[in-house]
């Protein structure tokens, strides 16, 4: 069995390439900015992939760094989801990653389905505007992501998906 996947960070990036939420699960130290950089730079690779690839949401392994492997996902509405997995010397199955992404996507989806989310927006021109990084409105999404990360970390390779 494959060893457990460990999520180090999850980033949601808006279609306009603004961070929506960057959540790190590593130790709360200054490495958080590292994941900001990772999220930011992975946009490069995502754009490259999107331009060449067809309509698949899951973009696969974007790149791997010294200790993390970055995977990307783009929703049909161009919200980008980037996860950073702790690098381990084992094959990471696309199915599992895709499942994680799907779960994250669903979490995001249900979070933005909140009708109160855009209530304060007087001129709803830019729907993603309310979905900025660190918005206090993301409490629910944040907890969902944490839950996903926890499940991913706990489950063995076979039972991923929670």
């Amino acid at each position: 069995m494959a060893p457990n996947l460990r999520l180090n960070a999850v980033a949601f990036i808006s279609p306009q390439n603004h961070p929506i939420l960057i959540r790190t699960f590593s130790k709360p130290d200054e490495t958080a900015i590292k994941y900001h950089y990772i999220a930011h730079t992975s946009l490069d690779v995502i754009e490259e992939r999107v331009s060449t690839k067809s309509s698949d949401c899951y973009l696969g392994l974007l790149y791997s760094m010294e200790d993390v492997a970055i995977y990307g996902y783009i929703t049909p509405l161009k919200v980008k989801i980037v996860i950073a997995l702790a690098l381990s010397d084992s094959v990471v199955r696309d199915m599992e990653i895709n499942m994680i992404f799907k779960a994250l996507h669903m979490a995001y989806y249900s979070a933005i389905s909140n009708p109160f989310l855009t209530l304060e927006e007087s001129s709803g021109h830019d729907s993603s505007r309310s979905l900025l990084a660190g918005s206090p409105k993301w409490k629910n999404l944040r907890s969902r992501i944490d839950e996903i990360a926890r499940i991913v970390g706990n489950s063995s390779g076979a039972s991923t998906g929670g």
Binding site: M1, A2, Q16, H18, P19, I22, T24, P28, D29, E30, A32, I33, Y35, H36, Y37, H40, T41, L43, D44, V45, E47, E48, R49, V50, S51, T52, K53, Y58, L59, G60, L61, L62, S64, E66, A69, L87, S88, D89, S90, V91, V92, R93, D94, M95, I97, N98, E120, S122, S123, H125, D126, R129, S130, L132, A133, G134, P136, K139, R142, A158
Partner: protein, 1880 residues
Amino acid sequence: MNSYPLELLAQLAPVMFVAGLDSPPPPAQLTPPLPTAPSLPPQAPAPTHGRTQSRTHSRQQSLTANDPNHPINLPSSSSMPTTTTSSPSSTPATTSTSPTPRPDPFIVLTTRLRDILANQRRVAVWDPPSSNDKLFHVVLVDKQVQFPPRKVSNGTHSPLSPLTPTSPLHPDGLIAPIWIRKHTMLVPAVFVLFTRLFEDTSEDVDRRNDAERQHDTTLSSLIASRKKLTNDRGIKLTVVLMASRHLLDDASLGLDARLTFIRRQSGLDSRAALFVLSPIGKEELGEFVKSLQGALWEPAVEYYTAHSKRVRQKRNRHQAQAQSQARPHAPNPSLSNVVLPIPAPPKPLPLPPIGWTVRYEYKMASFAELRGEYEVALKHYQDAYSALMMLFMGLRGPGGKNAGVGVGVGMGKAPASSSTPVQTSFSNSSPSTPTSLLKRWAEAKVLADTISIKIIKLYFYNDESGLALGQQRLHVGTFPVVAGFSSASSDKDTADQDDKEAEEGTYEYYSWLSKMWCVFAELVVQGTQGTNITRRVDSTNTNTNTNANANRTITIPVHVPKLGGAASGVVGIGIGGVGGVNPSHTLMHPGWYYLLAAECAERKVERYLEAMRAVPRGSGEGEKELKEKQLMQLRALVGDVLELYTKSYELFKAYSSSPSSSASATNTSNNANARLPLYIAHRIALTYTRFPDPNPPPLATSSKNEYDLLPNPSNDKAPDQSDEDDFFGEGDLLTGYGQTVDIQDKDPEKLALAARFLERIAKSYAREVIHSGSVSSVATSASTFSILYPRRPGDASDSDGEDDPTQSWGWPALLVPLLQTRSAILKGLIRREWREWKLSLTCSTTSPESDEKTNPLGEKLELADHLESYVRLLVERMSVGGVKRAQGQVSKSSALQKELIRALQLLNQFYLLSKSSLDPEEGPRKIITIDHIETQPLFDTSVIFWNGRMWISQSRSKFLSTAQPQNPRERTPFQLTLTTPTKPDGSDDSIDELRWAELRMGVKFEFEEYITFASSVEGEHEEPVQVDQEVDRVLEGATEGAEEEPRMQIGIGTQEVQIIILAQEDDDTESASEEEEGGDDAVKVIDIGHIEFGSGFTSEEKVDEKIISVASSMLRWKREQTVVLSGSVGVTSGRAGGSRRNVGEGRVRISSLLLQLNIPSSTVANVEIPLNVPARRGAPPPPPPYISYSSTPYIGAPSAFPNATSIPSVGIGGGGISSTLTSGGSSVYGDAWWFTGTGGHNPDNAQDKEQILKSSLPRWVPVTRKGNEAGFGYDCVEVSHRPHPVSISVRFPHSHHERSSLQTTSPGPAYVGEDYPVQVSVKGCSCRYHHHDQEPGEEEEEELVEVVMDVLLQPVETDVAAINTISIGPHQSNTMIRGIPLGLLILHPLTSSSSSPLSSSASLEITQTLWIKNTGGAGDRVVDMSVRTRPISRSKLKSSLSYPHEEAETLKTITIPCIEPLTINWDVSYRRRVARAPAGVHGKATLSWLEEPRIGSEEPVDDDDEAQLTEVDVEAVVRAMIGCVGSDHLGVEVEKMVLRSKSSEYAQILSSEIASDVSQKENDVMDIFPLGKFLPDDRLSDICCVGISSYLYDDSIDDHTTEIPSLGTYTISWRRILPVPFGLSDNPNKSERGSLSTTTFPLPALQPPANYLTEVGPGGGVGIVALLDIAPVAKLHQPLPLTVIIRNRHPSRTADVYVQLEMGTSGGVNTAGGASGDPSEATGAAGTSSQSFVIAGLRAGRVPLLLAGTEERLTWMLIPVECGYVQLPKVKVIDRRKGARGTATILAGGSASVSGPGGPPPASISGSGSKITELVTEEKGELNERGGKNMAIDAEGRVIGREVRVVDVRLEQRKGQGHMELVDDGEAVDNVIGSVLVLP
């Protein structure tokens, strides 16, 4: 990679020694036999002697063998015997050659050979195998070269063996690079000896033979001696004899015998040992070299195989030995002793068995590699690697922890053993005591690294990038642990004394790691950039670039996820298993690995710094030297980091640009795909900050305190000393967030460089924020950013994790640390430079003569520069985001602004001082302008004009006072809001301590300006700002008195008001007074007042500018505070005023906004911040959330306007908010909010505190643009002249609906062809502008305007080609009539306007009739009317001058439906003409009958026999049905109807119903008769007959068309019956008629059936037709003529026709069959003809020969004897002409198929088509049934001829138009002879 010995890395290839290719001797020395003194050619590297490479680290050889100067051959070691000894033996080649002017071909040959061989392969690390080339590594040697000794003379071991005491490896070395060198340089696999074959040129055969024999013997002996040498070693010897071409060709010279002799004598092999080469060209030479190598490849492989075998045997023996010996050395392996440094054993023990395994495996791997067997090599390398790992493990494993610690201490943690880590770890030049032991260890490490690299490389050769990366990761991950120089997690327990280091690795570790990744990256670079490495110069020596891509073996995979179909349980191993990859084994482009290497190198630098700090500081000279050395070392290290980063950056750039250039084009942001390079650039910039200061200030190194205690010379006189100290004292403020940068003791130049770098990078990041934000949607321009930005930079991992309050827009998380770092750097720089400057200043003041040197200007400028950019940076930071306020750190809340103030004061001081000391004439003030073009603005700004459009007020009286309230549309209030951004997250960048000196606001009025030039030009305003065009306006109808010749220019004028709001300088009482004034209010209002433009704009100084100063004390912003500048603008037109400026349309906007900072005690330097209006993120502050539901009811109440004078109450509705909130803004401008003041208006409800609080909250109402202002922006107001109240009404006299409404009549339909009148009446509107505040009783002034109309008729959509005409009076046009003067009109007529003096010449309403004549198709006609009104003022009634800006234009568009009054339907049928055509219808060239008045006239045609007879064969009957479609009861009265005929070559109208005589051509009128009223559904019909000549078909047979264009037109003249006007309906007879109109209908084009003309039909002989004609009704017993006309229509053939009248029953008679059943059906009841008639006439007989084109008429007389429908007797016509059928049918087939496209009945196509096949069968004589149908067969069964089709002309009538033909297929009509109704 450079740090490894090249031998251990380079790609191996079999070695070939080539001797005898000496460089040519100089020409002067040709004659004597030369010693080959310089045996090696100059380009071959001379071996360097005595350079023992035992220490391999110092080697600095680049492996990227790009430069040709790089030595190809490795330097030989000392053990190599000297090969350059001059040999006395004369070579035959030199003796035989005689000097010739041409170069000796053999010298050329040898030179070329040498070139080819020497250059064919370069030693490179990356040299992947190519399939077909077998390349040797060629070493050019002397002929007398000696091989190194195999064994030491007295021992049994090789001189390199560890067992040999003299070996460098003795006693426990593994493998030295020298071993590889031995096999690549000193010992070949094959030895090729080039030598010249002696050739005697003498004629004497015997002498020649003797000489040859003699020389050959010598040669043989030479070869034999060489052979002996090589044989000893198993080296293949090959001799290449160079002989002349002549010798080779001439068999008589006995070459073969000589060769055999030489071979035998010298004992050469029989195989591939002797070659003969004659001087040949380069290409052939290349081929030769190739074939030579190909032939020698196998011996080489054998050679190395033999070596391998021997090594394998040794290994096996050794392993067995080792096992049996039970590891005698195991407990104390030598290496473990080696690495234990302290008790260095004096006598190391020999190599352990596992070491020998490493040795043997490595050798075998090398031999396999030499053989080119890479798979085998890979396996052996792997074995060697694992054995080596085991060797290391063995040291650590059984030796226990001590060994591990020992290794760790010895190598990594130098401080434990040696007090100077720097020395031990880094400097190879000064090794510590156990040198040799450390050396062994280092050698082993190098060996491990190089083996790993080889393995990786071999994987890459196979493009197994995953495995390669896996090996790399394995090596990187495990080897440090195994080798013990990294204390990874496994031995963390042992290294508990320094936990941090244990976790993060040591200096050594990172150094090694960086190196490994760097090497890996280099490998990938070399593998991917094939063009970069020239693997070889092609053996043909031509520049072939075929191998340009040969090296590109590494493909960088892109992970394409595979999701479906993966078996769930199976997890693949390696790449691509089951739908997944191992991310650590996925190769990326080499930039990543350089990045990795750089990061490791950076950590290495950190370790170094730690070590440096750990060293206690001593003193003294040595210490200083050491310090300097360390600094140098540090600089070098940082330089390495920088280099790695730069390499990575370049690769990232290259990789991001190349594959995704298309992607970036489509991307929204322009800096897409540059984020990764940007990141690396950021790292590069940070690396710059690591450079140590090369010459630190003597005291600066100690501490900061000393720094600050530096004596300040200006201490006593500078009052701001405390500020300065504060400024420097708060240095740590700027760090501690994100990356912390220690800028102390760093190189200032590099720091400055880093600061510049960071500035650029920060701009890129900021641009991304702004750019992508603005791209996201257009609508965000006004208010998008206002709500959510700026947010403090995200710190997503707060400790609680549940609610991080940060919100970020864009990537401030990346930007803010960057800015902080940059400011820290700048601050450090400033601090340093300030000190230096101060010092220099002190020097200069004390010794003024020396100041030139100590105070260079550049330094000063640099300081100023840095100070300035620091100021800019601070402002930028204030606008982007701020300092995270930690708990309890309130004191720093306003840090940035304080910092800013201090920096400015410093700058000020600097300027003051420098000015006094250096250049007193320097500029008076230094203004730093901070532009927000690429950063976020400091303030949210917005501007709202209450109205989107306003009118220019006409100053009608000279004593106009602007204070007088005018029309409210003539002035509009505006508000400009400046808001400090809201920061809900608690970060505080408040700017409340910043006092702003002034706020300048420019209000600009841009307008079209009209400047008049009278003949006497005295205007002082000739030069407009910009003259767009000069219009010489002489307008139609207004050019009466033009003698003054006034001219006018249109320009663009501007008027600008600078409003300067000065802060009130009551410093002391400021705070108190502000509190009183409500300084804490969220919104402060500064009233500017009214600004009047236009003629009301008066200014003293300049014409275009005016300055208004307002003093206010409100120029300070607290958090979230808003300052509203409110005022109003108006524009006055200047004709009546004193100004000459005539103001046209324009707009008023806020042009500029500029804030100037007031720095206390700063007199020189200051900061100006221009702001954009509206700012990008700026917008009016969003309403607090509760406003929308708690205070909505109060908004809009009149009391909400404290300054109600400037704000009209018009249009403010309570419903405004909710509507805009929900609708979300209708325009792109989003919502705008108007400040209406603070609360307090409803004190009744203010019981509780909350209510009170709310009541003091500011309230904002939305401003919406509705109605005609929709679409106008809020940030400007459009200024235009008040439109003239002119209305246009249109009436349609022809319309029927007039009675319902007079004004808004919709036009009735116009008829195509008629003149349709439209009555346009222009009327001055009497409407007034009623407004609330308008004085009752005020009336508009009467005004006289001149009216000019333009009419534009739009093209008709349905019929673009139609030409319609409009006309007004004399003007007429197809499209547009311009400038129709309509006369004068009175506007605003007073109620008592009758007394007006204007009424004489003007009218209240002008009516004009517009006629529209429509031709073409039906459809809507659209007419645009534009009525321009120009005022003619009373005073200047005579003036011809008019200003376009005073014109008003009123537009009106009408749409008139247009229908056709009459429609026509055509019905066309065709029939054959029976009437006898006159014999004289001739004419190929011209149809004579067209000249004749009538076809069929009996006039004989006199002339030409050559002309073919032509007939009117077909008649087309065209029936026209003309109907009236007029609407309702509207009709037309048709006056006449005329058929006008056109002539055609082949057709002519023969007759018409309405025309008794078609021949009346003179007036083209066929008939006139009064038709009278023609109401809808009335119809009129006409039938006309058109004769068509058969030549039509004959001639048009080529172009496949049988269509006859329209032959004429019906022209109908009609009048419209006008409706009865309302009120006159009682007299219907008086209904009017419209004007005469005509409608023409062209006759349809005719398409006669093709076979009518050519008689192609089933059963008919082509060209011959028989027409049967009989009266349809007969009387019993009365004779009835039956006429059969046989026409020979064939153009050239005569016909031999046989006619037979068959009297039998229809079934019996009709031998042809086919029509048997039909007659009865067609005729209903039929008797048999034999009984029905008595027939008189020819029963059977032959008609006289029918010439081509003639006809024969046969007549029978039938006497009916029976009543009813009686079947006619069958007439059979047979064309008996032999051969006719063949040609005829072919003709028929051809013609029928030709006529196909023209649209004849499809049946005829198929019929004729089938006939072709039928014909073919007939020709073969096979008479089938179908053939018999058309054949007439006589009684004997012979074919007697072809039956001619007999057509009953009564039955055959075809409908026209092709498709209408329903029944008329050939089969049905054919041969049907109808019946006759016989009446009694």
